[in-house]
Amino acid sequence: MFDRDIWQEIYHSISNNKLRTFLTGFSVGWGIFILVLLLASVKGMQNGFTLQFSDDATNSIFVRTGTTSLAYGGFEAGRRIQMTNDDIEYIKRSFPNDVEYISPRVYQNTSARYKSETGSYNIQAVYPDHQAIEKTIVNKGRFINTNDLLNASKVAVIGRKVEEDLFKNEDAIGKFVEFNGLPFRVIGVFTDDGDDNAERNIYAPTSTYQKMYGQTNHIDQIALTYNPNYDLTEALAFSDRLENVFRRRFKIAPKDQSGIRIFNYAEVFEDISNFTGGLDIAVIIVGLLILLSGIVGIGNIMVFIIKERTKEIGVRKALGAEPWSIIKLVLFESVFITALSGFIGLGIATGLLAIVGPNIKTGAFANPSVSMSIVVTATIILIVAGVLAGLIPAMKAARVKPIVALSDK
């Protein structure tokens, strides 16, 4: 079937109709080109989302409490739920295998002063674990450690922007800065890939703030990361368990949304993967439709070619060509043109992505690329497309009556 003569026929046919072949192939090449770029763009969006959220540990959960909105367990609605250090210990005890890192957050606004420079900042009083949860990058000095926590040391880790604002060109490490009039020693400066605002934060040990403000053990929020080996389902199951335990512990009605809020990044990821999955399907449909117009184009031109070559086909038949050999000729030519031009489109698209892709990194869009499976799928689609495009013209060709060879038009 794949004898040399078929290829010679195809070669002749193509080389004698270069423009026609080019125009025919272009539509399919273009279709594949766009399909690949679209799929790569979705991949780019996926990458972008992941990158955006990977600033925070992607396996993190945040627990916040508020005021109950429903009466429950003998309590009236409107009760304020206050978490304490004990809750941290309670979680650690209850979920030893689930929790990776855990830290409370105590929020405090402060006006900071160093020499003549002042500014207003947010302080988060946290545990050493917090560095791992927020993926805080300390590029000078160190983060809060266990000793700081035990001693309730007046130390602070300040954001890069804070250092810039207060210390100007000085090195902040070891210097004392006043927070609401109390001196804190700067032990570290951190940066954050996420955004500049995060670099206006200040971290201090939880114990320090709890002692300074009323000897309480109150905390505003719990941030934790769960076992990184958990998949989406396990992660969601864990946050459900955590929520149930807390609702029981604080006697919050199961449907009360304002008493406690547990935010799990996994939920966001679930949403995103649902979204990009849907987008993938939409893109494949759009891409296939574009490709379809290419196929129709090829079919159209093949029909025209058959019309143009009616006489030649008639002569071949008069010389003894069986219908199948004519079908074969048209089909092979169609598949060959489709596949070749498709591969060129595919090659250009993947080449373009390989060169440009890694350099694209803006907001929610990063490194658009195609996977091997897309390439393989596209190849199969192309060959099927070629057969489809050639089928009708081939049958039309097979029906050409050899008698046309005799008519002199």
Partner: protein
């Protein structure tokens, strides 16, 4: 070689039916050179189409080399054409992107003759028509007479039982026509059966037998003294 009995053929033209062949009876022996003559509309082209298995008859019998030709599907017709018949057309009908040798080899390709053998045979037949040195040329580089000679070589290549020529000199000037007829006569001399459809009396005179068609019936069928084309070349 060819036996035709009471052949009828009519074409439907809308509501009207056009009776083209109204009972043709004739036989052709092996080695004959027959001219089929007639004005346009006489049915000579239809007869040739049926002889060439390009069209089917409505009724009647057609036996070619002891094989009854009837109820052919396309594939079978193609095989029979390939095996039994060689065609020479008025407008040569060479495939314009194939060289002379490739054109000659085409029927052999459909006979599934191996490539090498095909090329050898093609050259042999090109040599027979005196165009061996033109083997690599495209039809567009050949003159009309040369093209028809290539077409004749192509028709011969399949080694058919009968050669059917439809106005083989219709597109040629008289000098070239005689050259082509000279070639046809020589092929006939070698024992090949040839049928020529023509409306030119001087071409018909170069055959050995003239069959005259008019309004779908044979009005005259006579053997003649062949005029050799050689003397005009």
């Amino acid at each position: 070689m060819i036996q035709i009995k009471d052949l009828h053929k009519s074409y439907k033209m809308g509501k009207n039916s056009l009776h083209v062949l109204k009972g043709i009876n004739f036989n052709v022996e092996e080695g004959e050179l027959v001219a089929i003559m007639g004005s346009s509309g006489s049915g000579k082209s239809t007869l040739l189409n049926i002889l060439g298995m390009l069209d089917s008859s409505d009724s009647g019998e057609y036996i070619l080399d002891n094989v009854p030709i009837k109820d052919l599907n396309e594939t079978k017709a193609a095989r029979y054409r390939n095996k039994f018949l060689g065609f020479v057309f008025q407008s040569f009908n060479l495939i314009n992107y194939k060289s002379a040798a490739e054109n000659v080899a085409l029927p052999l390709y459909y006979q599934k003759v191996p490539r090498k053998e095909r090329q050898e045979k093609a050259l042999k037949y090109l040599e027979q028509v005196g165009l061996k040195e033109w083997a690599g040329h495209l039809p567009s580089e050949l003159s009309g007479g040369q093209k028809q000679r290539v077409a004749i070589a192509r028709a011969l290549a399949a080694e058919p039982k009968v050669l059917l020529a439809d106005e083989p000199t219709g597109a040629l000037d008289s000098k070239t026509s005689y050259e082509v007829m000279d070639l046809i006569q020589k092929i006939n001399d070698a024992g090949n059966t040839i049928l020529i459809v023509t409306h030119e009396p001087d071409i018909a005179d170069m055959c050995k037998r003239i069959v005259h068609l008019k309004d779908g019936v044979i009005i005259e069928d006579k053997k003649i003294e062949q005029v050799r084309a050689e003397q005009y070349v």
